[in-house]
Symmetry: D2
């Protein structure tokens, strides 16, 4: 989402005091960041997750369980839209899927086709109006859209549309797509979608629902994960395979870059809207975002992480008393590191599972007295020990510093930090909420300077080659099919707008 | 709102089970219809209320109290939008103003200019997305709109816009206006608004907020009430004067038909977007909708109602033991009738004040056993008595029948019904939710047939002449300045779409 | 409830922010005081209401509608307990009956016998733990109790019980009754209840539910209203007859002073626990508390009020341009006054129906600018007029002053205040929340001094004789059967504890 | 809580539909059982957790963070009571600490001494009235109590008290204690507490708050964990040391069996109410209940579990492709097993972190289609592999069967189950919610029969000797200081009531 369209008009606040449902909120939203992931305060923020069903009588319930499995990809809002003959039935709300949906909410969502969405966004843009699926009416009827990703030239297209008199109700990139579809000269929705996608540049897994069709599209570089599954005769779409497991479905294949799949009463149609290039799936999905039990491009995420830990041990072995991982995302890698080195894996850090959005932050005073919210070091385990601490990435460095200090305060005599990815130096324009380059510690400092900044005894980043080797070969059979622009500055698309840093869901 | 754009896509349901704010609801919405008004089940439904502030530091709080005073005009949703330099701050929710807003909700609504809205709508269209003020972004910035009324040619304009590729998120006429403004060739907002209003036909009190302007407009026939007030140096706008009393403001004058008032940093500018014809303010506002302490066109509503009761006594006197009014709207008229005739006014019917939206409807079984929800006849008062029952109108006749029967079950020996308006025979296209002609009992039956249908001993409707005389002369000095199309079929505008029957807020 | 047992331990606050149910609250509880009553800020506060059902399969639903009809007697908490063979099913919550109960809440309340309660209390004691029915377990099983009234010697009994090692969970008088029942040497519940009631002094309408019995008792002076009704074969009990009308039941008779009615599988048993003296029902019930459509001791409340207005006109006629009543409790009297004098009744004051517990109070600043919450004077009606303003009582005088000033600010040239009761000079120990004598303006000042204090042109209180005559003869056939201690200091019981001033529900 | 006092009177249901706080609920409470623990459906249920503060200005906030750290010990209700000079301030609610408390709720809880509680209970007894701390008034003032544990002879004492006329409002054992204290002949609270504890038999960690004292007591066998800590000058008490870490406090020592600690303005007083025998701390705390970062009797729980895994590997090694643990409680042991054997530890099972109380259970139909709620097997990891699955215990066997089947459905060729404790054969009477003996699979079947029942290829339970060796020597220096009655039927107290099986918090 471009700065150009950012608005601070959403300063109102969620409040259930009145027992009412409320529209907007803002402010001190606690960026949870839990999930299958680490989720401390300067971690990268997850993007969004999408889920689609075509041809199952329980489409809404399946969507609920699908979103629940994809919850780690976005905790801010959740929504489901079903198509029931001539009508759309939908419900969206702020919060986790389990908070937004009750049986009473799901009951009216009849219909056997559906699309669904969980969303993460930066606090300023946290508002229900941006919650997806977005629903629009246009000349051919109703249209529901759900996207995971980011359209890089959205601001340019938007300004152009505004010049022609278009009005917008959200700050979401997805609304731009809806306008392009509605303005297409093609009446046929499939052609109109192709037309629209032809005008946008970016990374996206995209689901469109009409009263009788479900359309799925993946960007021409296959930057975002997007998989097709089956459940009986029904077809499923999801950001990650773990959502298929959750509903008892089976994995069919990954969507291909530039591919358009159309489902209608005549069945499953494979189509394209763009020349599909080599897949360049986001490496951070393997490193940090995806759930460990998901497979991306046929590679299991936990296994990839464990191999990263082993690679890291080969690249940067050192003797120590124990290995510990920052929960949850680095546990797999830490176990790999321990297995490779023979140094025992221990529970040096523990995360409180009950922390969440509604948790009261301790006051500064209490924090200084040592009140901890979420992550604790286990004194009995680390006291007097030389600790190897495995983490997945360093963004601003503030979190790493905090965790190293937690370990030291608990009595660790040495803390050696090992990172399962290369230095993170470049912002992402493809749907990951990253700070701008000035705030990225690896863009500003050398490895030694970072080591000092985070108070570690030693620090080592996994090499890019090691990382690629650890991730391994996907279905397309090429080990290099990754977007690693955040590490190597090689963006698979032309970057239209350098200023553009956003959540990517919008 | 036209049938053409009606959608049943909003079948999801409000539910606060999760403690969450929720977006949509539908279904068994209990059409409250309380207020200063009678509000039984086949009563006409109130429309909407608007409130605007320009130049007061507490704009949002004043709006809250203003909406509270206008609550009888719409209980479904409430919303306030303030302009604070470059930003809009807004909050909208389903329910009463007191339910939607808490101190925590009002606090972020900073800014000294604001527009606000309470809304009534038919159940099928009860959804938060339609709650006003509507907020749009267009090439010149942010735009907030709030309307009371109905655009008669909205469906035609909408189809035309859709052909040009416009997309819609609501079913509201107000969104049509926003599109027309955004598509105007004029960059200047005032010119663009004039341009837009030039294309629409209907009845509307219209408020537009930009970051530095507040614009108010009244339709060329002045069909809806709309008044200007002052509070210190600040300007106020409201659907009814009671909102000025509630905030300590003073009445300045009524908006004129076809008038456009613009407030900006240079002050108060009077302008026009249309030739202002003779005011034709809705007669039902005097009869039923407006609060008795409001003045419309300088005429006090309670006083007008009392005069209607007196006129009715003159036209259709009959001896009886007591006069009673259907609460709340017919109390004033009943007192007038009693005063004129010397027959004592008694509390023959009583309304439970605590009934409201969240009230559980009794089951059919309990209803048959006599469980009453809202209105009771007072046995001790009516038993063995000949009762004159004053009501404001008969729509379908079902409510009148129920009340007559309540009185008879409580022991009334005779029930003589006196109605303070002429037979209601024609649907309203100007913002009142009326059933279509087939359901209007007076369009289908003679007075004698209606009398039989409602089980009254005698029945008399106030004559149109009597009604006009009772309402009296307004500020423009002409006793005939009313729209009485529902009685006499003389619509002040050309009716574009006979099929068009809607709430008028949409 | 006695000061001796008052505790400030309930400072926690209701908050639904978390979507959770919460136990306690305190603080800025908005003392609503709406209802069939006036309810401004220094009005007397309503007490409680009780409702019982024996032998109806829909006992819980009937209780819901019964409580709804009695809502004006207490808006703080509501509760229903049903007996279902061996089990009690109950639900209690803070707020109006319609807020506390949903279909989902009512569904598990199976059983054909029930007792129910609405409660008012002073803010400091507003807590769920005190909400009734109270449920206790004792040696003979479960026991549910609901009381309207006040036990004057509760503090003394309580201290005595504590000396013997009793522990208490509430500050409610009703818990004292439960202890006395449990400690009775009688195993039979009816004998145990008689035993317990023999030890207490006060005013109470009392309902007890066991797994197979419903017991009703009225204090020996019949101070509180308490009526018996029927619905088919089922028996009903209620504080007011309006609750019977609401559920389709019929009035059977009033409970007699000192009477105990026991319902069990063998039927309806009349019994006594005390010599029943002459009924001394609270006069304020007629003047202010009861709903106008209720009959107390066969006298209709609205009719009594209208007669009070007429009496007042006879005692203190004066010429004026209009009569107006303070809504809602004084409307009946104002109409009586107008009828008697021929001075027109007008709507000089209007109350906003939507004001309620969750309403945001205006800031002092806004209040000074004229923001009004609840009651407005109607300028068009009162401007330039000599107004007779009818009210039911003057407690501290602050409200009367505010209303007189509202009328003057709206342009009334003279304001003549007429009160439908004698000066209120003595606190109530029988279940009405009154300030202590120092705060009662009539206990401190002469009528002329009060007139000055409330800024009235003239002031007149109805004489005690006039009031008694207006109330009339009840079923017992004696016009003097009222408690008027608040006016004449003649308390029908010995007052044990002068310090005792409480809500009376506790 | 004894069957004798169990009541089904709490069938009412939690519902936030009205936006109201509600008192009770019942029914399909989803027994969450997440935490630091495993928490599948036939797992043992955690008991309760207590937390106390004496002498810190932020007592309530510290309690909030303390409860949060102890959340795994009870998710049903949470409560905090502070003592502020003469008043108690408290708040209790159903749900997690983060759901029950908001800043607005904590703010009024002023005072520097506090006790706090999280509670688990069986569904039938889930009600707010039972939420702790319980607050009582007795002759000496206010008293707040919080207990973790179970009083074995509570039903007997209760019947005795009832015979003497006592009434009860809860079904909690803690209320029995309050009665005993109130009925003690001693006026001094410390003596009265000793008196009361002298009459009870059971397992308990007990905190009492008066307006100026905090009293802590541990049962004579030290069955429940209970530790003392410091934070600056303030004293802390907690069920587990992890709560001290969470608030920045330091561990001082474990409470001793039979010890009574009294804190008042004169400081910290060590006392006894019983001869302290040998500590017999619950072995299941190490195996399953406690958080891995807690130390009990100076032994770290994670380390003990890892040693159990190693012991198990020594006792029952077998070759396989991978080791996996049932999350979360068996992860430590699985890593120990892997370390010992060299078989790789893999993420074969994954738990969805977002599942919780409000989660909608899938319908039977969807469950049969494979919809999973909480635990999934990772196909890519286990497919074609021989899996060693580590779990902490087998209760009914149904959960073990489900997990084995999950692994098989995901393609595991062999599943070898290893349990880190001996067969669970005897119910607990000391505060753990266990099924009765008939439902305990190990009490009914041989190991081989269990193996068949859970569909495992092999099954091995850790020997009792191995377990004791793994847990190791605590502060008292004796490796045998554990209660292992559930394994060896040697109960450290006389069992009064064989029928007695309850949650233990009551």
């Amino acid at each position: 989402m471009s700065d150009a369209v950012k608005s601070k008009s959403t300063l109102t606040k969620l409040n259930a005091l009145t027992g009412n449902h409320q529209e907007l909120w803002t402010g001190e939203y606690y960026n949870e960041g839990i999930g299958g992931q680490g989720g401390l305060f300067d971690k990268l923020n997850e993007e969004c997750g999408v889920f689609g069903v075509f041809g199952h009588p329980d489409a809404a319930s399946l969507s609920y369980y699908g979103l629940h499995a994809l919850q780690h990809r976005g905790q801010e809002s959740a929504g489901i839209c079903t198509a029931d003959k001539d009508n759309f039935n939908y419900h969206r709300g702020m919060g986790l899927a389990k908070e937004v949906f009750t049986n009473e909410m799901l009951a009216p969502l009849v219909g056997s086709n559906s699309i669904a969405h969980v969303r993460y966004s930066t606090a300023g843009e946290s508002k229900l109006a941006n919650a997806q699926p977005l629903i629009f009416k246009y000349r051919e009827g109703d249209l529901a859209l759900a996207t995971n990703g980011n359209i890089d030239n959205a601001a340019i297209i938007r300004r152009n549309l505004e010049k022609q008199g278009s009005i917008f109700q959200t700050t979401s990139d997805t609304e731009v797509l809806a306008h392009l579809i509605a303005r297409s000269k093609h009446d046929d929705i499939v052609e109109a979608v192709k037309d629209a996608l032809g005008q946008v540049v970016g990374a996206y897994a995209f689901l469109i629902l009409t009263k009788d069709k479900l359309i799925a599209a993946l960007d021409p570089n296959g930057l975002r994960p997007f998989v097709i599954g089956k459940l009986g005769d029904a077809y499923l779409f999801a950001s990650e395979t773990c959502a298929f497991d959750a509903v008892g479905g089976t994995y069919l294949r990954d969507m291909n870059p530039g591919e358009l799949v159309v489902l209608d009463r005549d069945g499953f149609h494979e189509d394209r809207f763009a020349e599909g290039g080599k897949r360049a799936v986001c490496a951070m999905e393997y490193i940090y975002f995806a759930r460990p039990d998901s497979d991306i491009d046929t590679i299991n995420v936990h296994s990839a992480r464990k191999r990263m830990g082993k690679k890291l041990a080969m690249e940067a072995f050192m003797d120590a008393d124990l290995v510990t991982g920052v929960p949850d995302s680095s546990i797999s890698a830490a176990i790999g590191f321990a297995e490779q080195t023979g140094i025992p894996y221990e529970l040096g850090l523990i995360k409180n599972r009950y922390t969440g959005r509604t948790f009261i932050q301790p006051s500064q005073e209490l924090r200084e007295q040592g009140v901890k919210m979420k992550l604790s070091a286990v004194r009995k385990v680390v006291e007097g020990k030389r600790v190897i601490m495995i983490d997945d990435s360093i963004v601003r460095g503030t979190t790493s510093l905090r965790i190293v200090n937690l370990l030291r305060e608990a009595g660790a005599t040495e803390v050696h930090v090992r990172i399962t990815s290369p230095p993170f130096m470049n912002p992402c324009y493809y749907g990951i909420d990253t700070p701008n380059r000035k705030e990225l510690i690896a863009a500003q400092k050398t490895v030694e300077e970072i080591r000092v900044a985070i108070n570690a005894d030693t620090l080592h980043f996994l090499s890019q080659e090691g990382m690629v080797e650890a991730m391994g070969e996907g279905a397309q059979g090429e080990a290099s099919g990754y977007c690693m622009a955040c590490f190597d500055n090689k963006y698979p698309t032309e970057i239209v707008d350098e200023a553009k840093i956003g959540c990517g869901c919008d």
